[in-house]
């Protein structure tokens, strides 16, 4: 019966178990009864993974972290380093914004996949948005809630251009502590958020160019507009699908 223990990690390789801390190697619980060789702890690296170990991140249930929260301070420091790293490797503000956009795109792809899996994974008839406005509402409410913990503040449609829509956030959490120097005043670090939106729209089949712009007001100095410029193909399809 001793070998019938549930082995939760069949894919746990020797390589990854050898990276465990030496403290665990030396613990008496660690060595299995078959290899009771406490004097030679290195052998236990080849033994089965120990019970009570933290599961591999790929084996964790995705729904477990649904309501989990991340420290805003820790994220602010991480994002600050991310901007500094990017800033050192670019020439000019446009390049910096483009790179931040690319980094956000990588996040957005995963956000969309995770959100669809959580929302539709268990239903019998999963669906996805095929019209643009519901998709935009979905981004404004659900994507924002998944990423920032609250919905965005407004959606607007451009009066001049039919292909432009805007999502407005009065106080974006990721740029709350960032003061952009005067000589780069056109920079908006929310380009990262724009990248997230662009990835979600792309993933839903609405290719668009998404950019971020500072639009401060007296009441909200950090107010940011995420500008979505849709591709012509999306507009044509929307027109064709009109009932």
């Amino acid at each position: 019966m001793a070998y019938n223990q549930p082995q939760p990690h069949p894919r746990f390789s020797v390589l990854s178990s050898s990276s465990l801390s030496s403290l665990e190697h030396l613990s008496p619980v660690g060595s299995s009864t078959r290899f009771s060789l406490p004097s030679a702890p290195s052998i236990s690296t080849t033994s089965a993974p120990k019970p009570g170990q933290r599961p591999n991140i790929y084996d964790r249930n995705l729904n477990k972290t649904r309501a989990a929260e991340v420290s805003a301070s820790a994220f602010a420091f991480l994002f600050s380093e991310l901007v500094q790293y990017t800033h050192k490797r670019v020439n000019g503000i446009n390049d910096l914004e483009r790179r931040l956009n690319t980094l956000g795109y990588r996040v957005g792809m995963r956000v969309l996949e995770l959100m669809s899996w959580r929302a539709e994974g268990s239903t019998k008839a999963p669906k996805r948005e095929i019209r643009f406005l519901p998709a935009l509402m979905n981004i404004h409410t659900h994507v924002w809630r998944a990423v920032f913990g609250r919905p965005a503040d407004a959606i607007e449609k451009s009066v001049q251009n039919a292909d432009e829509y805007m999502i407005i956030d009065n106080d974006p959490p990721i740029t709350r502590h960032i003061s952009v120097p005067r000589d780069m005043s056109s920079l908006s670090c929310s380009s990262f958020t724009a990248g997230i939106v662009e990835a979600v729209l792309d993933g839903l089949g609405f290719p668009a160019r998404v950019t971020a712009h500072n639009t401060p007001t007296g009441q909200y100095p950090g107010r940011t507009t995420i500008l979505i410029k849709l591709e012509q193909s999306v507009l044509d399809r929307e027109e064709a699908m009109k009932p």
Partner: protein
């Protein structure tokens, strides 16, 4: 019951932020402020080594006849100095809040270089909200 000025001194003794509130303080040039901050840094180093009973965090309050300066030393060696009137009871808690604003608006700002003068709009705004305009 008045706050006259705020200094932030980096761990090398350089003055990285200086701001006066109200008209209580004499007007000095920025060079004079740098010298004074450097001197205070030295005095603080002396006081921290004079403790008769083990290690000490150094001077926390220096009083004059008409004003006092309260010093907050952080774990990283940055010093916050508040110049107030003698009767100011909240200097310690104000300094803690300044430290908090510093951690938020300066350290989390990607455009700030550590140990360099603080030119962060967010920090100015937070200090204004905390102490008042100067």
């Amino acid at each position: 019951m008045a706050i006259h000025g705020l200094w932030v001194i980096n761990k090398a003794g350089g003055l990285v932020y200086q701001r006066n509130f109200g008209d209580g303080l004499p007007h000095l040039t920025s060079n004079e402020y740098l010298v004074l901050a450097g001197t205070l840094h030295g005095i603080h180093a002396i006081t921290s080594r004079l403790s008769p009973t083990g290690s000490s965090s150094g001077a926390q309050e220096i009083c004059g006849e008409t004003f006092k300066m309260t010093i907050l030393l952080t774990a990283t060696g940055t010093k916050f100095v508040l110049l107030t009137s003698l009767a100011e009871p909240n200097a310690g808690s104000v300094l803690q809040k300044v430290y908090e604003a510093y951690a938020d608006a300066v350290m989390k700002n990607p455009f700030h270089t550590p140990e360099m003068p603080i030119r962060s709009e967010g920090f100015d705004t937070r200090i204004t909200a905390l102490i008042g305009s100067g």
